[in-house]
């Protein structure tokens, strides 16, 4: 082969000795394609940075409001290396995680109960349909009235906001369990409790995981909103404080770190989902 362009390396040659697992394409081809795509992605990001610097350079925006990307990167490094930013991130995660855990437990229990007890579902459906269109953040003032400012209120808001996706997808998951599985359980003389534990829950687990991933993003938004609004310690209040003190570079640094946090949270839950359902549609698409 004289010119090993990308196209000639490929496709699906029966004689190609080594393949990338699961694709049937040669390792060379997959590595090359990925390298080229990563380079393109980096170039795309570089264009965004260049645009940022251009806007700054041309003075379209007050340069004090738009610090140089280099300064922001340095502020990120300083802030994370034992700075206040690191502890703010830790505090946000520290309230986000238990809040989400509460939502996961309560949402899973509620979802299973609603799916298995149709009478209960019918009875409280009006309540659910009534609460559903109300954005949870609108209830922050109500929670402030009832619980006051503090960690307790923040945890409640995080859990309340993120319970819904867990609840509804668990319910859908349980309702979607193949009735033949249940019949198998009865034939094997499993008691109802064992049937739920050993058949319903494992079968509904992928749906639960998908709901939990949606919930994790919502929980983060609510955690930060509550922090901004009440001054509860965390990224939200940190961003507001540095902005009010005119520390613009620190503000931008914190925002980009928040983005990374959001990205990582999603990546972690995506990995959990993949582990739970390697065949699932999320695995194929993204």
């Amino acid at each position: 082969m004289q010119s090993p362009g990308l196209a000639t390396l490929d496709p699906l040659k029966p004689d190609a000795a080594r393949r990338w697992p699961g694709t049937g394409r040669s390792i060379q081809f997959v590595v090359m394609t990925r390298a080229v795509n990563s380079a393109k992605g980096a170039a795309g990001a570089a264009v965004v940075v260049a645009m940022w610097e251009t806007v700054r350079g041309l003075g379209l925006v007050d340069p004090r409001d738009l610090p140089s990307t280099f300064a922001i990167v340095r502020a990120v490094a300083d802030g994370l290396r034992g700075g206040e930013l690191a502890s703010a991130v830790a505090m946000t995660v520290g309230s986000w995680a238990p809040g989400l855990l509460l939502a996961a437990v309560a949402g899973a229990a509620g979802g299973v109960a609603l799916a298995l007890l149709p009478r209960l579902e019918i009875a409280i459906r009006p309540l659910l349909e009534f609460l559903r269109p109300i954005p949870s953040v609108a209830l922050i003032p109500v929670a402030l009235l009832v619980l006051g400012v503090g960690l307790q209120m923040q945890l409640f808001m995080i859990a309340f906001a993120s319970i819904w996706p867990v609840l509804f997808s668990t319910k859908t998951g349980v309702e979607g369990v193949d009735p033949r599985f249940m019949e198998t359980g009865r034939v094997l003389h499993l008691r109802p409790g064992a049937r739920i534990l050993r058949i319903v829950l494992p079968a509904a687990l992928p749906a639960f995981a998908t709901g939990l991933r949606t919930a994790s993003a919502i929980a983060l938004v609510v955690a930060i909103t509550v922090e901004m609004l009440t001054g509860q310690g965390g990224i939200g209040s940190y961003i507001e404080n540095v902005r009010l003190n005119g520390l613009v570079t620190e503000m931008w640094a914190a925002i980009f770190v928040t983005g990374v946090l959001g990205y990582l949270v999603n990546a972690v839950f995506m990995a959990i989902e993949r582990a739970l359902m390697p065949w699932g549609p999320e695995y194929r698409d993204r």
Binding site: M1, S3, G5, A7, T8, D10, P11
Partner: protein, 268 residues
């Protein structure tokens, strides 16, 4: 032959056409050459999987060949010329599901409303006036293909390409569609290129049959079909001449199919 080309310039000239899917990869079409005179009905047959659809896409200028060229009235085109139209193989994938029959037919006409008399004329040519306001999902397979046919003749093309247009309909519908297409093409004096794997259909409908080899495809033989018009499904198909031609084409195609290497046959 020089005198005849001077009188009638071919509407379509395929010259030494070669094409492969990937640059440097195995060829699908290999040095293919044939001509089509204006008003002629040409059928292209060949063993299944020999690259007929690739050929049609090259002819329609939806794809550019690697080597050789496709000339329409002596000219090269980078995009499909306006006087060419195509009926695609999968009728249920070539109609726009969000447009009614009438709107589907009007799709290629610029600045013409879906209520224009041209649309109704095209629809009545395919006996579909009664379904003008239905949507594709409400039509049977044969009706969908008639709608696609109406859409391609409404633009008054000079050259009509048909890619296995009757492949996925039942036998009776297929026969009706063959008669309908032949009638339309003759009355509009269309040059028609039909790609098919059905030998009966090719011999019955065409003035010339081009037989392709197995992959990489080239032209094995061009056979003139001098059966008289109008052709009839019963009468024509019982004439000794039809049977002789059918036998000849069939033998050629079968020879090609047997040449297929074993592994290529089992691949699909």
């Amino acid at each position: 032959m020089a005198d005849s080309t001077a009188v009638t310039k071919p509407i379509l000239a395929v010259q030494n056409l070669s094409k492969s899917f990937t640059t440097g990869g195995p060829r699908i079409l290999n040095g293919m050459t044939f001509h089509q005179k204006p008003g002629q009905f040409v059928a292209v047959v060949g063993p299944s999987g020999c690259g007929k659809t690739t050929l049609l896409r090259c002819i329609a200028a939806l794809m550019q060949p690697d080597e050789g060229e496709v000339l329409h009235r002596g000219q090269h085109f980078d995009d499909p010329p306006s006087w060419l139209s195509v009926v695609f193989q999968d009728y249920n994938r070539s109609l726009f599901p969000w447009l009614s029959v009438r709107q589907n037919v009007a799709f290629g006409l610029r600045g013409v409303s879906a209520r224009d008399p041209q649309i109704m004329a095209a629809l009545s040519a395919v006996n579909l006036e009664h379904a003008a306001d239905l949507y594709p999902w409400q039509l049977s397979g044969g009706m969908q293909q008639r709608c696609a046919l109406a859409r391609s003749i409404v633009v008054k093309p000079k050259l009509l390409l048909l890619d296995e247009p009757f492949a996925s309909v039942d036998a009776q519908t297929r026969i009706d569609l063959q008669d309908m297409v032949m009638g339309i093409c003759r009355s509009m004096q269309l040059s028609t290129l039909l790609v098919t794997h059905d030998i009966d259909e090719a011999v019955f409908m065409a003035d010339k049959v081009v037989v392709l080899s197995t992959r990489p495809a080239r032209v094995v033989e061009e056979i003139a079909i001098d059966l008289p018009h109008p052709r009839d499904q019963l009468v024509t198909k019982e004439t000794p001449e039809f049977l002789r031609l059918r036998h000849h084409v069939y033998t050629l195609v079968r020879q090609q199919a047997q040449k297929l290497p074993r592994e290529t046959q089992t691949e699909r």
